[in-house]
Amino acid sequence: MRILTSGLIVILLVLAVYFNWFAEGPQQDTQDADLREEKPIILQNPELFDYRNNRLSSQIKAKMAKVYESTDLTLLTQIDGTVYSENQMEPPTRIFAQSGSINGKIKLITVWGDVRIVFANGQRLYTEKLNLDQNKQLLYNRVAVLVVSDHDKINADDMLYDLKTRILTLSGPKAWIETGF
């Protein structure tokens, strides 16, 4: 009997810990449910602009946008985005993707599906998913990337691109460089 009681206490404790520590799942479900319940504002061929210090920092064109006001979330399809450099003389970075989302609360843009980036210097980057942290001015992901330029090609496990310093960091890189040595 004592064993049964102890076992019951242990199970209760485990359940309590689970619901307290792993509460993100149910919350996420609630949020998703909210999204499903909320009727979004649908925009056809929208152009979204983001300003920083009274200057256009990014511009996103899409085929369609679904705006969920309660969560400040926008879902986009067929994205053609432009991220402008702080140095106005430099050409912008272009981003293309099949789908994407803009989380207005944390200023995070996530794009996925045939993501293609054309950097200011003509370098192209291909991947399946990419995040743009507008606060930190960082482009990053955790999936395979392919970076192609005129004389080289680099595969990597993931990437981090600092839009301010224009430094690209690739993990597990494998490069093919046409020899100019």
Binding site: Y126, L146, W176, F181
Partner: protein, 409 residues
């Protein structure tokens, strides 16, 4: 069914062997072809706007040839419709372009940690287990960290640094005809050129290697070891101006540079055989070595000690100049300052000594002294003798008097 190798990137994996490539296959049917990644099964209908990735990767020429033949048939077959013919023509252009790219040379670089790339400055830093391979020759470089700077307009390498556990294996290109003949002679049948194992021209290890196009300098530092088919060097630092083709090899303070060179084999008056005789090894130490490639000269300075393995002779001098022939073999050595030589059966001393390996003679100049085992002692301002002791001819030069003392028991 035909494989279009390394033409498109797979939108899912982007990284299948070789990385960044995918085998595209025609799927039978009337429709335009689908591309299928053999690893992920990623399928995409070709709409003509697929991500075209320049086919940088080594191409297996056999499927490429088959694809070329099939496309030719598609173009010229009577029943081929116009759209298919147009499609096949564009495919042909692509295949030709692939072939052209294949002919170009590439370097592959891999690293197990990160590559930090700043395209605006043209710099890249590769970290941890960096492995570089030059495709045309198979030459490799392995190091802990590789930093490179390329010209932002021309992409030409302007500066490079390999830092930590540098190991480079350099192959000098195609297999030589001489090597082919040698293998053919050994095996008794013509060798397969492609399958012939190639020996590296040189293997280099050091702690730090830098290259600068601006200053035309290549530097190797820290426990430098170069093993080449023509020489071997162990030093602390090698600094080489590749434009002037001059270099300086130095040791750590208190230590000496170790070297191995080769000299032309002596014939001993015998007729040369069909097979080239083995070159003779000359090794030694010196405080530093100056190399001058245009004049085929090496200058060894500071406590020079040389061993000639052909006759086990050893000599010491303050300085020695080595002159090489076109086969990188020592032709002449001029030893200066406190020259002394020990050979089995003979000792000699002088201010200066000139070794002429073609004639197999050595000339001792200034306070020359020779003593042979048979207790013959010779002194003169100048003595010329055969390098080989057993040939035993010693004579003065240019009518300079020779004093000979023979000890009689």
């Amino acid at each position: 069914m035909v494989s279009l190798v390394y033409w498109f990137s797979c939108g899912t994996c982007l990284q299948h062997p070789p990385p960044g490539s995918v085998s595209g296959e025609f799927v039978n049917g009337n429709d335009f072809p689908h591309l299928i990644c053999q690893e992920t099964g990623y399928t995409k209908k070709w709409t003509g706007t697929l991500k075209m990735v320049k086919p940088f990767i080594s191409v297996d020429m056999e499927p490429l040839r088959n694809a070329f033949l099939l496309v030719c048939r598609l173009i010229f077959h009577q029943k081929t419709t116009l759209p298919v013919r147009l499609f096949a023509t564009s495919l042909m252009i692509g295949l030709l372009a692939t072939g052209l790219v294949h002919a170009r040379d590439f370097v592959t670089i891999t690293a197990s940690k990160t590559a930090v790339i700043d395209r605006s400055k043209g710099t890249a830093v590769w970290q941890k287990n960096v492995h570089v391979i030059r495709r045309s020759t198979g030459s490799t470089l392995m190091t802990d960290q590789l930093s490179i700077e390329r010209d932002t307009t021309s992409d030409q390498l302007v500066w490079a640094e390999a830092n930590g556990s540098v190991h480079a294996v350099y192959y000098q290109g195609q297999v030589s005809e001489e090597k082919l003949d040698q293998v053919s002679e050994e095996k008794g049948n013509p060798p397969d050129r492609l399958n012939l194992p190639q020996e590296p021209h040189s293997v280099v290890t050091c702690d730090l290697a830098t290259f600068s196009r601006k200053t035309a300098l290549a530097e190797l530092q820290g426990r430098v070891h170069i093993l080449s088919k023509d020489f071997e060097l162990q030093a602390e630092k090698i600094r080489y101006d590749y434009r002037a083709e001059r270099g300086k090899i130095t040791a750590r303070p208190g230590e000496q540079v170790q070297f191995v060179f080769y000299k032309k084999p002596t014939t001993n008056g015998m007729q040369p055989t069909a097979r080239a005789p083995v070159r003779q090894k000359v090794s030694g130490v010196a405080t530093e070595i100056l190399a001058n490639r245009p004049s085929r000269k090496m200058v060894l300075q500071g406590k020079v000690y040389i061993i000639d393995y052909s006759d086990q002779s050893q000599f010491r001098a303050d300085r020695a100049e080595l002159f090489f022939n076109e086969q990188e073999e020592i032709e002449i050595i001029i030893a200066n300052g406190n020259f002394s030589m020990n050979q089995p059966g003979r000792v000699s001393r002088s201010d200066r000594a000139v070794f002429e390996y073609a004639k197999e003679e050595v000339t001792l100049i200034g306070n020359a002294y020779v003593k042979e085992d048979n207790k013959v002692e010779v002194t003169s301002a100048r003595i010329k003798m055969y390098i080989k002791v057993n040939q035993g001819i010693i004579r003065g030069v240019d009518d300079i008097p020779v004093k000979m003392e023979i000890e009689i028991d």
